[in-house]
Amino acid sequence: MKIVCALLLFAVGIPEIGTAGVSESALTVLRDNCLRCHGEDKRKGGLALHTREAMLLGGDSGPALEGTDSAQSLLIRVLSAGADPHMPPKKQLGDDEIEILAAWVRAGTPWNDETLRSLPARAVGQWKSVPTRFHPVGALAISPDAKRLAVARGPGVELFDLSEKEVKAGVMLSGHRDSVRALAWSPDGAYLASAGYGLIRVWRGTDGAEVKQIRDGIAGRVTKLVFTRDGKNLVAADSVASVGSQLHVIASGDWSVIQRIPAHKDAVYDLTLSADGKLLASASADRLVKLWSTADWSARGVLEGHTDYVMSAAFDPAGERIATGGADASIKVWNVATRKQVCTFSDRKSELAVVGLHWRRDPGAKNKPGDDWIISAGEDGTPRLFTDLVAHEGGERSNGAKMKAWPKAEAGLAVMDWSEAADRLIGGDVSGGVTIWDGRGKVVNRIGAP
């Protein structure tokens, strides 16, 4: 990428003379104020600013730049208070910000792709302790051996013992400043990762001792964590709501970030792996689901069709299809190879979001076709079991499955996890309660709010 850029710059004939500092601060202003409308997708007024080449091409009103003459360049002129048209349309940039851009134009608009693509990290001015009354379940994760349950309510993470009939409270992991929004166990149960705003903590699974804190390049809240099936990587999605999300691939050896992928244009709410571990799916508020190869972290396709935030995703056990659900209250099933929708279904009586999904085989059937069991968790507090999927052509919203509602949680569900080993669905609700259903939908236990 760097090489391509350099070649392009060369071709256009403007030498890259600016210092890294000028370019970084200018591109940050550009990224935070202009790119939403003049990006790769929207190109308002025919102008795109996501690459230097596009910026030099200009838009419907002509070239954005007049060489290095900042006073004459349209890009700068539209920013002044009395300008018509005025940019950004509903906001006035500060004089300092305008000067940063002007200096950058004078310096020949040196480019830095990395700055433009990275998420703006907002510095939190003042931290307060999370009010104790605010304790929705932010995340929960069942350990691979199904003996422990990690539940995040507020800034603390509690480890519950699931091995006995009575669920017993255990260790409390504390130290996060923000409410914890993501939890993940490594496949061998050796580690538990937790995350909130700008920070991932790794704990030893056996005794809850802290192993590592990871802050490097993490912008905003970490909204989802997942370990790859081989346990070699931890993948974290950070999310600046309504701005974007990056995937951070972390090596579980030394906990260093080995790759950073600009993934979505809004928060990511779910990361899920295929059964063979070769594909990772990310579900985002930008209404898209993206597929990634866990071998080289290359993009492997986009699933486009949801009309609101996508909150959850689950592969089928064979890895041929994927179910996705979200704030549009519908669940869509896609063919992974063709990335086409196979069917759509929903509980028409609920308009609330699908916040969690799990896909398993009907435990009573023996690997026949049509033994799909898709279990969803709803923001209305109800888990639902969908079976007998009916494929349909086109985009019509026919109800392509049979549905059975399971008994409700005591409040709206926020998160869920499924344990194949224990045959349990565990859901956390917005009041801080945790409900445990067995594989047939019977409520077998509840953990009260703190």
Binding site: V124, P131, G138, V430
Partner: protein
Amino acid sequence: MRRNLSIYLLFALSVAGGAADLSFRNDVLPILARAGCAAGSCHAKAGGQNGFQLSIFAYDPASDYREIVHGARGRRVFPAAPDESLLLLKATQSMDHEGGRRIEPGSDFHRVLREWIAQGLPWAATNEVSLTRIEVSPGTGRYGRGAELELKVTAHYSDDSTRDVTRLAEYRSNDEAMAIVDHDGRVTLGGQSGEGVIIVRYMDQVGNARVTVPGERRLPDSAYAGLPIRNEIDKLVYARHRELGLLASGECSDSEFLRRASLDAVGKLPTPEVARDYLLDFSADKRAKLIDELLADPDWADHWAVKFGDLIRPNTQRVGVKPVYLLDGWLRRRLRENVPYDALVKELLTASGSTHQYGPVAFFRDKREPATAGAFVSRIFLGVRLDCAQCHHHPSEKWGQDDYYRFAAFFGSMKRKGQGISAPISGEPEYWWWEPGGTVRHPVTDEVMPPRPLDGVAVEIPTEKDPRSVLIDWMLTPDNPFFAKAIVNRVWGEFFGVGIVEPVDDFRESNPPSNDTLLDWLARDFVENGYDLKHLMRRILRSNVYGLSSMPNETNAADRRNNARSLRRRLPAEVMADAVASFTGTPEKWDGLPPGARAVQTWNTRMSSTFLDTFGRPDFSAECPCERDPAPTIVQSLHLMNSDELQSRLSAADGRAAALAAGDAGPEEIVRQIYLAAYARPPTVDELRVASGAFSGDGVSRQGAIEDIMWALINSAEFVFNH
């Protein structure tokens, strides 16, 4: 701008020390509403905006709370760093926000929201209270033109506490020419006299302030001294004129009165014979005699059946031909019997039986759901449009979903069997009856809604009693605030072209009557006289105000609401068709009706007729088919000028033109006959000269001249309008 700040701060931020919790409902939602977040064009539109959805007019606080606090895994709030909350970043436009900056950083609103997030997003305050009402002051007042005033809005709560919410309320003027109002309740009156209403909304409560601007030049009492007063109506209308500086126009001519009263009361043109007799009658009580004759005319029932039919006759293609035919027949029969209006409505609304045997059952077949039946009854018989409240609180009125569904609950236990609606042919009968059992539920809370009349208290209805009869009993209490007023206003609107409340079925606080003492008196008089429609019409017809000229004077030229002159009105479709038929002497032929039947006798408005379509019939695809468009159109003019149908009527062998041509009258006598038939008056000298001249052109036949004159008259405004 600053005047209410201290009071607001006092209430909301007395808690800033951390003592008491803020309330989502009472502290947070009002700010979001006022800032425009929950506007219908933004986050409260169907489906929300960019994934964030609030309820319109905050009708569902629990849903709004869930959306803000828990929606999308809590992405909008950040209690550990309140300033980083998306809710604040977006609202203050510290982050790119399509809706722009809704809340100033550092403002009171900003601080309250921030504090609420820091408190851990409480749902309810430590001592949660509920809003019971709002008070707007000054509630009424008289002001000069261009005057300015500041409104103050006080919210009253369940614990008797109050709060100044002037800066949180929303304001709207019902007539921008009368008064404009800004965001903070500052009112500036316009340059005209009259009455304006400022509608004030705060959460689910609506209040208003009425502003009256008296006429700039009030006339001396002597100006009113000589006005003839025939009954109470005149007194009350003149009293209003005095306040507004209006003076009634003079009286109309005998010809105008005859034509106007005939068209209004029975929907037909007076014949030349009737006109001649009336004009030559010099007795003092001839007007009273005419009025009695009109109200006794057998055609009265058919004319009013069209009016009431518009309100209650369903679409034949929905409920079937036979039920509508039976309903129409029932209505005409009852009107012919001059059944009192209360009995008529009672019979309709408590009907049961077969749609193929008993007309009124068609109403239930059409309004099948309790909610549609309730909204219909409210609008048609009570003049209250509840429809908005089906989905959310009425934007400018006190009606909420509670009112809507509790009113609907009176129809919540209707039972049916037989064929349902299977448009276009609902051929088989359906049976409707009442039987205990069945409830109406609130769509948001799912609570069972016990029946409650509008503005009334919930009524305990024994299980063995039909709730519909309880509703009727409430409607027919003599001091019911809606029932009698709604019908007298409708009838008044038919005779004057504009209701005392206008539109006639839109009674609301923010749409006050032009003359409330008059409306009160008419309603009381109507009830005291046994809900007798003919009595009401007699009162109206006998008033001096009804017989005013349509020529304006300098005081009333701009006024349309206060009956200071007669308004010119285009004839409605059926009346126009019958007028053309009787003027040309060529009765229309209607499908399924005997020869000689008139348009006002057609029993449904889908009968094929280009003429009626051109002049406007109820449109079943409209929101309420009870309305017709009364406006004159180009197509109507072209139809009268050019249609083959009209030409064939003029030249028909058995028509008036042929009869006049075959007679032995001279041109002048023929012209007089034609003028009497069209206008109920003789021609003026000039008209007589010009019209008679039509006979003497080269190659003009006698019949041709007559046809030309008649064509010219039909195409005149004096024919097409009632004046």
